[in-house]
Amino acid sequence: MSAEAIQSRRDWLLSDRPASRMQARLGRAYVAWRRFSANRLAFVGLLIIIGLLVVAAFADVLAPYSPTIGDLKGSRLLAPSAAHWFGTDDLGRDIYSRIIYGSRWTLYVVILVAIIAAPIGLLVGTVAGYAGGWTDAILMRITDIFLAFPKLILALAFVAALGPGIENAVLAIAITSWPPYARIARAETLTVRNSDYIKAVQLMGASPFRIVLRHIMPLCISSLIIRVTLDMAGIILTAAGLGFLGLGAQPPLPEWGTMIASGRRFVLDQWWVAGAPGFAILIVSLGFNLLGDGLRDALDPRSGEQ
């Protein structure tokens, strides 16, 4: 492609007078992308997350051994070697393979928590913000009460009552993590509630339900996405913590926190059994944190530190 063609495409994207909604949208995405990709660390974060997605998708191809069935006779607690990159655990399973399969469970947890908690927060926040008055006061008081709770301990008690398991862990984390989303959604709603275009929609006879759903919720999405991305690391760490306490995923599921828990017994002699899954958690959490910071700076220049 010639330099001129690139130049004219850039002009088209950055045009002050977009001819279509599509062009405006693409233009905004382009500006955000340029700001985002100028941030090297955020880019590293994006690469880590893409890596996680790829590993989870192709776990069957990438893992050299079975994640659940080990060689009890010949390969218990082996140190890292060419055959077993991260060594083997007490049941003779290849830790590298288990970590690769574990990426699926990590994704499972963060995605499920996000799609349960974010809509709850969005709904509570937009309704409270749009309705105002008593509805707002009561909904926000409930939100604040939940916000003042210790999340991990509460999730722990929830799982203790529901019974251990990864689904219950997801549920418990989701129940404790919606309040910040409600606050954000409410704040965004308050800034647009009295704007002229909402008034215009009201005059045209739109129902409150339609206004909240079609005109307010879409505006909250971008700040919500940033917040959810920033929370992903926290969700992973909480899930791993529950797994470590024996409340999350149950063996033989190759969930990273659970793997650390079972490696704990021999950590003084065979540190790699607990070491490798923890490192995986660290890298993925780091990826989400870097990505979240980068997204925040790119999409919301007001809060950018630099």
């Binding site: 604040d144 003042a148 709770f149 210790p150 009552a161 913590g241 650390i260 070491g275 923890g278 780091l286």
Partner: protein
């Protein structure tokens, strides 16, 4: 507040008193509803979610007559709202039932474990603030420098690393390999029987009684878990200090302070940090509350006999009374710190005093 300030305050007395009264009233409403919310949620967890709360409390191996008696004792034949009323009344009296595991009242167990948790979290927050605040200030003052990068990396890792995993690795390194610290516990076995604590804070007790060998031993046990908690506290505190300081240093009053001819040191510490200190108090309090919450994981890794370990042990034995009692106590302290920091913010910031 100086005497003159008091006089000044008295001049606008009545309006001020009304503002204070309404803010105290508001504070009480928030405190009470939040605490009731906590009790409602734990009640829901303990009594509503389980299909049979008796089995949840006693386990499924209890004999039939015991189950029947407990059912009546727990008041499970009463309507739910009445059950909740009794539950709240008991909780306010510190009655969380009996632990199946230890056969003690849960409150007795918690009272024994509580000082251990507080001692650990306090030392951790102390380490985190003493190092974290100056580090954050330096990072802000020398923005973009090596120290700024280091603070950034410390923060990123602190936000991303699983605390229990880092704890395990530290045990491998500092206890097993280097033998710098003592094994996971509060004291060596020898001292467990010869040392009588007064307050339950072993470092303090040993120092008060002049038993320096015990002090040294307690220190060797607490230093690793406290440093670990300190690191997490530091990661948070330094990052927040940096951003507060950057905000303050860009204000006009800093230019004015320079125009007065003040030294950079005085501008940073007496003006910018003094202003940043107001939100910092909240950050430090929140970090303290976070460490209390994280005690479940840290204490489990370091076999530290606090509430966190108590909760974990009870979890593994399906001892719901103990789990919920521990949850309520940590939750209450957590809420109290949250509210207290909010109150402190108002006291420290002269701008909010007028109401």
């Amino acid at each position: 507040m100086s005497a003159a300030e008091n006089q000044a305050a008295a001049g606008r007395g009545s309006a001020r008193a009304a503002a204070v009264a309404s803010s105290i009233g508001r504070f009480l409403v928030i405190a009470i509803t939040t605490y009731l919310g906590l009790l409602a949620v734990t009640f829901f967890i303990g009594r509503v979610i389980p299909i049979d709360p008796v089995l949840a409390v006693l386990g499924d191996r209890a004999p039939a007559n015991v189950i029947e008696r407990t059912r009546r004792e727990m008041g499970l034949d009463l309507p739910l709202i009445e059950q909740f009323y009794i539950y709240v009344k008991n909780a306010l009296n510190g009655d969380f039932g009996t632990s199946v595991l230890t056969t003690n009242p849960v409150m007795t167990d918690i009272r024994r474990a509580f000082p251990a948790t507080i001692e650990l979290a306090t030392l951790g927050t102390l380490i985190g603030s003493v190092i974290g605040v100056p580090l954050g200030v330096l990072a802000a003052v020398r923005r973009g420098s090596l120290i700024d990068q280091i603070v950034r990396i410390i923060g990123l890792i602190g936000y991303s690393v699983p605390i229990f995993w880092l704890g395990l690795l530290c045990l491998v390194l500092f206890y097993a390999k280097l033998q710098w610290v003592a094994f996971p516990a509060r004291l060596d076995v020898v001292y467990e029987y010869t040392f009588t604590p007064i307050t339950g804070f072993y470092l303090l007790d040993a120092a008060m009684q002049g038993q320096w060998d015990v002090f040294y031993d307690a220190f060797r046990h607490i230093i690793l878990p406290a440093s670990l908690l300190g690191y997490f506290s530091l990661a948070y505190i330094s990052r927040m200090t940096r951003s507060f300081m950057l905000n303050e240093l860009s204000q006009e009053y800093i230019v004015a302070a320079r125009a007065k001819g003040l030294s950079e040191q005085r501008i940073i510490w007496a003006h910018a940090l003094r202003n940043a200190a107001v939100p910092m108090v909240t950050v430090i309090a929140l970090s303290y509350a976070g460490l209390l919450e994280g005690s479940v994981l840290t204490e489990t890794v370091f076999s530290w006999p606090g509430i966190g370990l108590y909760i974990t042990n009870s979890l593994q034995n399906a001892d719901m009374n103990a789990v919920l009692g521990g949850t309520i106590v940590i939750g209450s302290v957590f809420i109290a710190i949250n509210l207290f920091s909010d109150l402190l913010y108002r006291v420290l910031d002269p701008r909010t005093k007028a109401g």
